[in-house]
């Protein structure tokens, strides 16, 4: 009975039902979502990694890449070093040596001497006014007893992801090619790919491998079977190394199968005794803080969705790939790295089908600890859900006459006395059992406005992906100003009914907010399944949008002050402002970030900007317009 009466009370109290309860629920969703995320690094919520795929058998084979192979390695290295233009040193003293055609030919001849089939591919990309061009060289070992239907790729980029000269890495690839060629146990072809850089070369190559290259990229003259996995090698210094840094993030936050990462960790740690790091966490003590930091760094990379290494370009084609970077000062030499890669190749060689057993959606917090999508997804879903809850509540609320609330509060005692028999109307309005009357919704203008503002997002998307890179910083500052002015102009226009009709009624403002939040909630919950981190980040940045509303009841000075303050704070959360803040915090120049972003859009097929300009920015703009409209 108590429950029944509670429900009846709720139904008879629209203010509680449509204003206070959704606010409370939305707020709870956000809080629970954040707390959920913070709980993930705990032992109770994360899991130890394990190898799911039986076929991999990591570290079960003895690796023979030692001894005389080291002499070969030194020989190749000397040959390559002789071809470097040492005079071309840049002002900071570092070798700034490009992959010249001479070196390219040398690599080609080394591959040919080892008995590989070799081919080259020229490519050229233009993005943000910069031209990226180069020539890929690759050689194929055909599996002596296998069918040529599958292949593994070993990549050595001439320049690492940090733009260092990767001489040891390239030499190791050449040595391994010669060494692998002599084994007869390969079930898959092995492709050795040498690219000039780790940003564009692999992208051009993998696009062309699947015949999806743009005009400016040459098709591949030589191909093999379906690519099963790719490993990139980076060894950009001459001293011995201590640890392996495994980079696994792909474009758009796609990740390689967890089995590949686990295999690399298991082989490095278990067989070779080399420690492995991830997400640039050099000192990981497996504490809660370290785990959380690792996870957040991974999420930041995933959310930004850019290519973190030569391996990243393979991910969109569902080819699992990682980069192995040597780090630190230790006692491991190139032979140890070679054996690790040999063992890794033997494991991949054991595969009978594409890696599929383990997770594709995961957050790593230590080289042997992860959470899977089932555990972490509710976090982003709750945050995205808060917008949907609010949108539905607003939709319901707009279905009632504005004066119903006051009606109800004043008449509640009366209607209680009359009991449920009073279904007749007072003052001619139809009053149902639920109390308030049903209002007609004025949909045309809110729908047009919300759709229009979302389409308006295409303008900055186009601008930021096409203008030359020198103008990026200026454009960002201009856009900050636009973001301050545009909502106010729109608010003025709206309060005048856009010059078309009478000023907007409060219901229309609520509908605008409802549609904006509905779209935001829908987009973010969809996005959460694809790129959890991006969805969560944008969800958190948009969280205030659920709670701001157009106020018109309080006194004028107070209203102005509140709205002005709200607008100011909200402007701090605008996309360009957040970008400037983040750049300030990390010390990266805005131009670099935006050049990278434009490059991502043009070359990698990165979708982060679309989400920012067509999901986040319109929702933010509408929030500002609503707040601004309370001034006018």
């Amino acid at each position: 009975m108590a429950l029944k009466s509670a429900i009846r009370n709720l139904r008879n109290n629209p203010h509680l039902l449509f204003v206070r309860l959704p606010n409370l629920l939305s707020f709870l969703c956000i809080i629970v979502g954040v707390v959920w995320l913070l709980l993930l690094p705990l032992n109770e919520y994360s899991r130890n990694t394990y190898i799911s795929e039986n076929a991999l058998l990591p570290g079960q084979v003895h690796a023979y890449f030692t001894g005389s192979e080291q002499n070969i390695f030194r020989g190749y290295k000397q040959e390559l070093e002789g071809l470097l233009n040492v005079g071309q040193k840049s002002e900071d003293g570092q070798d700034q040596v490009e992959l010249t055609p001479v070196i390219s030919n040398k690599i080609r001849s080394v591959f040919e001497a080892s008995g590989l089939k070799v081919a080259t591919q020229k490519y050229e990309y233009k993005s943000a006014g910069i031209t990226h061009e180069g020539e890929n060289t690759y050689g194929i070992i055909h599996a002596p007893r296998g069918d040529a239907t599958e292949a593994i790729v070993l990549i050595a980029t001439w320049k690492t992801a940090n733009d260092e000269l990767n001489l040891n890495g390239v030499t190791l690839a050449l040595t391994l090619a010669r060494y692998f060629k002599r084994w007869s146990l390969w079930s898959k072809d092995i492709i050795f790919l040498i690219t000039p850089d780790s940003k564009s070369g692999t992208q051009a190559w993998v696009d062309a491998y699947h015949d999806l290259q743009p005009e400016s990229v040459q098709p591949l003259p030589l191909k093999s079977g379906a690519l099963q996995g790719a490993v990139a090698i980076e060894y950009p210094f001459d001293h011995r190394f201590k640890n392996l840094h495994i980079v696994y993030d792909g474009v758009n936050g796609q990740l390689p199968n967890l089995d590949l990462f686990n295999t690399a960790v298991a082989i490095a740690g278990g067989q070779m005794g080399i420690g492995s790091n991830l997400q640039e966490m050099w000192e990981h003590d497996d504490s809660y803080e370290a785990r959380l930091q690792t996870m957040l760094r991974g999420m930041a990379k995933q959310g930004l969705g850019y290519a973190t290494g030569a391996h990243s370009s393979f991910m969109p084609y569902h080819i699992d790939a990682i980069t192995l970077q040597t780090k630190g000062e230790g006692w491991e030499d190139e032979m140890a790295l070679g054996r690790t890669i040999e063992s890794l190749c033997r494991s991949l060689n054991n595969l009978l089908e594409h890696l599929h057993q383990s997770f594709f959606f995961y957050l790593l917090m230590q080289s042997n600890r992860f959470v899977s999508i089932g555990t972490y997804l509710p976090s982003a879903m709750l945050i995205a859900g808060n917008f949907t809850i609010m949108a539905i509540a607003l939709w319901m609320r707009t279905g009632y006459h504005e004066d119903a609330k006051s009606d109800m509060s004043s008449d509640s005692s009366q209607s209680k006395k009359k009991g449920s028999a009073s279904v007749t109307s007072k003052s001619g309005k139809p009053v149902g059992l639920n109390g308030p009357a049903v209002a007609e919704r004025l949909l045309a203008l809110p729908l047009t406005l919300v759709t229009g503002l979302h389409l308006l997002g295409l303008v900055p998307l186009y601008i930021f992906n096409t203008i030359p890179h020198q103008f990026f910083t200026t454009a960002t500052y201009i856009f900050v100003v636009v973001d301050i002015v545009l909502p106010l102009i729109l608010a003025v226009l709206l309060s005048n009914g856009l010059g078309l009709s009478t000023p907007l009624v409060p219901q229309q403002y609520l509908l605008i907010k409802s549609f904006a939040l509905l779209l935001l909630g829908l987009s973010l919950s969809t996005l959460a399944t694809l790129n959890f981190s991006l969805s969560l980040t944008i969800g958190l940045l948009c969280a205030p949008l659920s709670f701001i509303t157009r106020s018109d009841c309080s006194s004028n000075p107070q209203r102005f002050a509140l709205s002005g303050l709200g607008l100011g704070l909200l402007n701090l959360l605008s996309p360009p402002a957040v970008l400037l803040g983040a750049c300030q915090y990390t010390g990266v120049s805005v131009e670099t970030v935006l050049t990278e972003a434009a490059y991502g859009w043009d070359v990698w097929g990165m979708w982060t900007q679309v989400v920012v300009w067509c999901v986040w920015w319109p929702a933010w703009l509408i929030g500002c317009v609503l707040l601004g409209s309370s001034i006018f």
């Binding site: 058998l57 084979v61 054991n350 009978l352």
Partner: protein
């Protein structure tokens, strides 16, 4: 006289029956099955090939071994030693060798084919090499290995055989007289659950691990890159290779099963005796070579058969007839006594029959035996005369 004959016949029958109960088997068959394919299951094929090698060593010919291998590890491109399969990291013995006959290979290894093989429900055009030609005198060894679970064994990732399927297959084999005694061995996870449902007699079953237990591999070869043999099979083979050195070995199943060492096998092997006549005490006495070796015993044609027309059947029929005659005899004498006491002519069928029966022998005695004897004598005499004359003349 009739009673004497009947008694002797009964004795003969009893002897025969007792004989079949303890009779030695007359042939040996082995069905060796690996059920998993793929490179990383190398060890399962190595298990089977090791056992194949052992039974061949102990005398079972290839024609009596059905070898089912779902994959070809020797020719797998991942094999660092092409054309070979080893079950030990020392790589002393190449199990693939020069003389291996695989009867069912690749995708032929299916549950259906396995059950059809056991129960002989095969098309006429299936060659002999793919048939289990065992009969009521055959001792059959069935060895299976692969990936299994509670009461099932996976076949090739695509299907599985259940414990009941296997029990029914053996049940049908018994009904169709396709084995004399059967030793069932299985090495898989939760192996012992596979023989829980067996119901046909004369089966000894043993498995590598109990319910909810895994069976483990013994060791891996670092050059081949995979585990090469399973623990239980490894230790069974160790016993067979080191103890059962010849086909004349007197070691029995008891010795084999006593050699199980749980601390080495890392799981609890099981043995099931209750289907065997005489249970464990009797079963333990069966020698290992009864199942792993071969016998050359000569079989009396149809000695143990029981179908219509066989000797056993005839003897039983005769015994029944003798009994019937005896009864009739007694009845007749009783009737005779009665009739002498009461009335002379009594139109009873039994008397009529008896009269008829008495006519039979008289008829036989009526034949002129003396005449026949004379004919016989004269023929022999003539022959002798010809012989004597021939030998005299030929001199």
């Amino acid at each position: 006289m009739i009673s004497l004959v009947s008694r002797s016949l009964q004795l003969l029958l009893l002897l025969l029956i007792a004989c079949t109960a303890t009779a030695e088997h007359t042939s040996n068959w082995a069905v060796l099955v690996s059920t998993s394919r793929f490179w990383f299951n190398y060890r399962h094929l190595a298990n089977v090939l090791s056992l194949y090698r052992t039974v061949k060593r102990l005398g079972i010919p290839d024609s009596q071994i059905i070898l089912m291998l779902p994959d070809d590890m020797a020719c797998n491109p991942r094999n660092a030693f092409p054309g070979t399969v080893y079950s030990n990291a020392d790589r002393a013995v190449d199990l693939y060798g020069d003389n291996i006959e695989v009867d069912y290979r690749g995708y032929e290894v299916t549950v259906e084919n396995f059950i059809r093989l056991l129960t002989d429900r095969l098309d006429e055009d299936v060659p002999r090499s793919k048939r289990l030609g065992s009969d009521a005198g055959s001792n059959v060894l069935v060895y299976m290995t692969g990936h299994g679970g509670d009461q099932f064994l996976k076949f090739q990732d695509a299907e599985e055989i259940g414990a009941w399927d296997l029990a029914d297959a053996f049940g049908q084999m018994w009904e169709k007289k396709r084995y004399h005694e059967l030793l069932f061995m299985i090495d898989t996870c939760q192996a012992n659950t596979m023989y829980t449902h067996f119901y046909s007699p004369n089966i000894v079953a043993t498995g590598s691990s109990e319910l909810d237990q895994s069976s483990y591999s013994h060791h891996a070869d670092n050059d081949v890159g995979v585990a090469v043999i399973d623990r239980w099979t490894y230790y069974v083979l160790e016993f067979l290779e080191t103890q059962v050195t010849s086909a004349n070995s007197k070691l029995n199943l008891g010795d084999l099963f006593d050699s199980y060492d749980e601390s080495k096998i890392h799981s609890q092997p099981g043995v099931r005796w209750d289907l065997f006549p005489g249970g464990e005490p009797e079963g333990r006495l069966r020698t290992v070579v009864d199942f792993f070796g071969n016998v050359q015993n000569v079989e009396v044609e149809n000695a143990n058969a029981t179908e219509p027309g066989s000797l056993k059947e005839d003897l039983a029929e005769i015994a029944k007839l003798v009994e019937k005659w005896q009864r009739r005899d007694e009845e007749y004498s009783a009737i005779l006594n009665n009739s002498t006491q009461q009335t002379e002519n009594r139109p009873s069928s039994s008397v009529h029959l008896n009269q008829k029966k008495t006519v039979g022998p008289t008829r036989m005695t009526d034949e002129s035996s003396w005449g026949k004897r004379l004919v016989g004598l004269s023929v022999i005499g003539a022959c002798t005369a010809i012989w004597v004359a021939g030998s005299y003349l030929g001199r």
